[in-house]
């Protein structure tokens, strides 16, 4: 059989499996394959034990249909990975390449071992098959080259931390193994083609174009030499593949399993969801002070993190020079977990032997404060960028809030500004601590009724603290209230019965205060039989919509941009007056990423006559936070650059003269940013309600009235 060569000719296309690999090569191959698979299985078994060892229970295997959908979209079709072009394509080349090659190999093996299943493996089918395998093999190689280029030449910041690259040998080994399999595969193919068919000119071997091209370069080399080279390469190829399999559970290659697992087990809860603390009276501890206070899934997430750094790429804390990087946070906790898990497992094992409750030795390092620096913990604005872009659906923000809860509720150790804020919320139900009786001052001369005066209204306008107490915020509230009245919307306010929504308290770790405030609001709202609520503040909007249902508050909640868009569409709000200028719309995190409201505000702005809209580079789901979320509104920002100033710069780059916002926190931050940049003369920040009210053209009439009053 194995004679001089050219056994396969036209009409006899195909290849001999195990060509040039005489007995007992096959047996040896299977033996080592079995060993590699056993190591791989054992590796995963060990990891499984580790995942099981620490963490609170959490169900992530419900709603199978939805989970399979996520797996297909994000795992198989790589939807989320593609959202970032270069790494998306790079990964897709390797992923799809490998995927096809593995199925190809499996197909090949089935044909060989179970020929009755795949009897057709020659002729045109074989050529097509070879061609496809060739294309995808090449794709993997291109992908690896792109990866090497990115990691070792381009070196984007996100593949490191503050200019220091994540230099891990594992990264290089993984790429080498992948490249090794493909390169040796092509070499093998070339050697085989050279010996088995005539490679002069174009023959059917050309369908395997990479191997064929290589085979052509061998012209003149003796068949015997090539046979030896082939045999050698065959074993190298096999052992690299075995190495790959065995190495998998001990390396970043594990993501081949963990990434789809995480895509399957992703949170199906609404964005920003936080599990409320249920029993304050009887719980022994609150929040996350120790690794074991995380859920198993949160710890699993740290293991699934591949250091791709997408989170870091748009993290306002990181980009403004604060110590937080969502990636680093995960990696630090993972490292700590790797230290702690053997200790915990050993303690549990020893206890199980004696049939006792395990006594787990105290860690040497505190997790909150040492593993995770407090500045990292408090730098997060809860903007949700990290969770929006993480290809494996890790959930950074709830982990951060969990640790904040520990610092606030258990240790009462947190920044004095925030302590003051919380005291103010406790005493006057607003973060500024302004007398609660002044809450509805803005409404005094507008004829806006409270629910106490008239509960028979369609909407409750939940004004919130900024809209009630902040001078700038009050202007928005007044503009919006006038707009509603003009449009004939039936609404009322809670007046002095309104409390702070609780968002800043919740996201700043003070769940107890947050729930107290929420409960106060819910009792009043339910007392008046409120069904529909409008909020001008996305924080209150998000909180009432997603968190109040936990405490018996079930309402239809709308943001004012949704209502305004609707009123314009219905013709109830008519925009008559031209508003000149180049606007840019700043997406509020709690509106955009949290609630997917991107289009309504833009639709409203586009309806304003005379207005031109210019988008900032970072917009929609990749918008840059103003810096005020997650309780940061009430805290000093003394590390790095101010986030609001950075955002203001971005608006300036868009050449905007007005930053249109839809959130009172954003409004404050953008107004301050404009002041910091000393651009007050050429730039302005306005809420959409103000712009619309202006464009409705009623204010002019009022302006002409004013002089006559003073005259």
């Amino acid at each position: 059989m194995a004679h001089g060569g050219h056994v396969y000719s036209a009409g006899n296309e195909g290849r001999e499996v195990f060509w040039n690999a005489p007995f007992p090569s096959e047996l040896i191959l299977f033996l080592f394959a079995a060993i590699a698979i056993a190591i791989c299985a054992y590796g995963f078994y060990l990891r499984w034990q580790m995942w099981k060892a620490i963490g609170r229970p959490e169900n992530r295997t419900d709603s199978t249909g939805e989970r399979i959908k996520s797996l297909l979209l994000n795992g198989l079709l790589q939807i989320r990975t593609f959202k970032d072009a270069y790494p998306g394509i790079m990964h897709a080349l390797i992923f799809f390449g490998f995927f096809v090659l593995i199925f190809g190999a499996a197909f090949d093996a089935t044909h060989y071992h179970l020929p009755f299943l795949v009897p057709f493996f020659n002729g045109g089918f074989y050529l097509g098959f070879s061609f496809i395998m060739e294309v995808f093999g090449l794709a993997v190689l291109v992908g690896v080259v792109l990866a090497v280029w990115r990691k070792y030449v381009q070196k984007p910041d996100r593949l490191g931390y503050r200019g220091k690259a994540d230099a891990v040998a594992d990264d290089a080994i993984a790429l080498l193994l992948i490249a090794g399999i493909i390169v040796t595969g092509f070499l093998l193919e070339g050697f085989r083609l050279y010996v088995n068919i005539n490679v002069d000119g174009f023959t059917w071997g050309g369908w395997s174009f990479v191997g064929y091209a290589f085979a052509k370069t061998l012209t003149g080399v003796s068949y015997d030499t090539v046979r030896i080279l082939h045999k050698l390469t065959w074993w190298i190829h096999a052992f690299i593949a075995f190495g790959f399999i065995a190495y998998l559970p001990f390396s970043k290659l594990m993501h081949i399993v963990l990434a789809p697992a995480n895509q399957y087990m992703k949170s199906l809860k609404p964005t920003g969801y936080l599990e409320p603390i249920a029993d304050f009276e009887n719980a022994e501890s609150f929040g996350v002070g120790q690794l074991e206070n995380f859920t198993w899934k949160q710890i699993f997430n740290t293991d699934a993190c591949l250091r791709c750094g997408r989170c870091q790429d748009g993290c306002p804390a990181y980009l403004s020079g604060k110590p937080l990087s969502p990636k680093k946070l995960h990696q630090d906790i993972k490292e700590y977990w790797l230290e702690r898990v053997p200790v915990v497992m050993a303690a549990k094992k020893a206890a199980a032997k004696k049939g006792e409750e395990p006594v787990i030795p105290d860690p040497e390092k505190a997790m909150v404060g040492e593993v995770v620096d407090l500045h990292e913990l408090w730098a997060c604005t809860n903007c949700m960028y990290c969770m929006e872009v993480c290809p494996v659906f890790n959930e950074h923000v709830p982990m951060i809030i969990g640790m904040r809860q520990y610092k606030v509720l258990m240790e009462a150790d947190f920044s004095p500004e925030l302590q003051l804020t919380y005291r103010n919320m406790e005493n006057n139900s607003n973060p500024w601590g302004i007398g609660t009786h002044l809450r509805a001052e803005w409404a005094k001369d507008l004829g806006v009724k409270t629910l106490a005066e008239d509960p028979n209204v369609e909407y409750l306008f939940y004004v919130g603290c900024s809209g009630s107490f902040d001078d700038r915020g009050k202007k928005v509230t007044i503009a919006f209230a006038k707009l509603l009245k003009e449009a004939g919307v039936s609404f009322g306010i809670m007046g002095g019965e309104e409390s702070c929504c609780g968002d800043s308290a919740m996201r700043g770790g003070n769940e107890y205060l947050s729930q107290t405030l929420a409960q106060m609001n819910i009792d009043v709202m339910n007392g008046y039989g409120v069904k529909k609520i409008i909020c001008t503040c996305p924080h209150g909007y998000n909180m009432i919509k997603k968190d109040y249902p936990h405490f018996g508050g079930n309402f239809e909640v709308y943001h004012h941009t949704e209502i305004i868009a609707d009123l314009i569409a219905q013709g109830k709000v008519k925009l008559k007056k031209s508003v000149q200028g180049l606007f840019t719309y700043h997406d509020s995190c709690f509106l955009g990423r949290y609630n997917d409201i991107y289009e309504q505000p833009r639709k409203v702005l586009k309806a304003v006559p005379g207005m031109k809209l210019s988008e900032m580079d970072r917009n929609y789901a990749k918008s840059f936070c103003c810096g005020a979320g997650g309780g940061r509104m009430w805290m000093e920002e003394d590390i790095g650059e101010r986030i609001n100033d950075m955002r203001t710069d971005q608006a300036m780059e868009a050449k905007a003269d007005t930053i249109a916002v839809a959130c009172p926190f954003c409004l404050t931050m953008m107004s301050d940013g404009i002041k910091d940049r000393q651009a007050e003369e050429k730039m302005n920040a306005l809420d959409i309600a103000e712009i619309v009210w202006e464009a409705m053209g009623f204010e002019e009439a009022m302006e002409t009235e004013t002089p006559s009053e003073t005259a």
């Binding site: 304050f280 009276e281 609150f286 509720l409 009462a412 919380y422 006057n428 609660t436 002095g496």
Partner: protein, 253 residues
């Protein structure tokens, strides 16, 4: 160290204060009641002394039923037990006498009070208390050390600060700057609900509620008149008008 902290419940500084029509006091409806901020410094200092030296902190408060919330607030911060003297209202002397009656039984090493309460601003209770207990007093203190039966206190005065030493037991009244009162932890709040609070009335303490000083009438401060904006375009004329008004109407020049 056996420590007593006296606390008073007062209206929140931001609360809307309305004087009753008959001028006998303020309308209490809708008011948010809080611990007198100066007393908070006292409680915080008491807790710090306890943390440094061991011992026990007892909070004592005189007031109506609602004053119990303020005692619980101090307990949540970390005080060990409370005494609630259920007298609705008392003048400064009677308040001090009631506190003294309770504190004598506790036999403390140090008593901490706020330098004054922000409601009536009389700045007397701490001093009268020290007199009634027959022990030294150091008032308006912004720094405190206690060791070996003595205290060393810092008291700011105009342009300088005094360092005052006193033997213990003594009464110290706390001024802003003494410390930053802590935020109660949640376990602290939960535990506070179960900490013991003794409730005593005037009869049990054997003291009189007949006031030595009476508030005859309470009136709100006069309303501020609306400001005046001087119109016109000529700055010189505007300045002349301003000068005229300041002299003739405001009578300040």
């Amino acid at each position: 160290m056996n420590i007593v902290a006296c606390v008073k419940q007062v209206p929140d500084t931001e609360a809307l204060i309305k004087v009753k029509a008959d001028g006998s006091g303020i309308e209490e409806g809708g008011i948010k009641w809080v611990m007198n901020p100066y007393d908070e410094y006292g409680v915080e200092e008491a807790l710090k002394l306890k943390e440094a030296n061991g011992g026990e902190v007892t909070v004592v408060s005189l007031g109506p039923a609602r004053a119990m919330e303020t005692i619980r607030t101090a307990l949540a911060m970390g005080a060990d037990k409370g005494v609630h003297i259920t007298i609705d209202d008392a003048d400064e002397y009677n308040t001090a006498a009631a506190l003294a009656a309770v504190i004598k039984g506790i036999n403390p090493d140090i008593v901490l009070c706020g330098q004054r309460a922000i409601d009536n601003d009389s700045t007397q209770v701490g001093s009268i208390l020290a007199e009634l207990l027959g022990i030294p007093q150091v008032t308006i203190v912004t720094g405190l050390e206690a060791a070996n039966g003595k205290i060393k206190a810092i008291k700011p005065i105009e342009g300088a600060q005094l360092v005052i030493e006193s033997p213990m037991p003594c009464v110290v009244t706390a001024q802003k700057g003494l410390n930053e009162p802590r935020y109660a932890s949640l376990p602290g709040i939960m535990k506070a609900k179960k900490k013991p609070v003794d409730v005593k009335d005037a009869a049990a303490l054997g003291i009189s509620v007949e006031p030595k000083a009476k508030i005859i009438k309470m009136t709100p401060p006069p309303k501020r008149a609306a400001g005046k904006i001087i119109g016109g375009d000529d700055p010189a004329a505007k300045a002349a008008e301003l000068a005229k008004l300041l002299r003739e109407e405001a009578k300040v020049i």
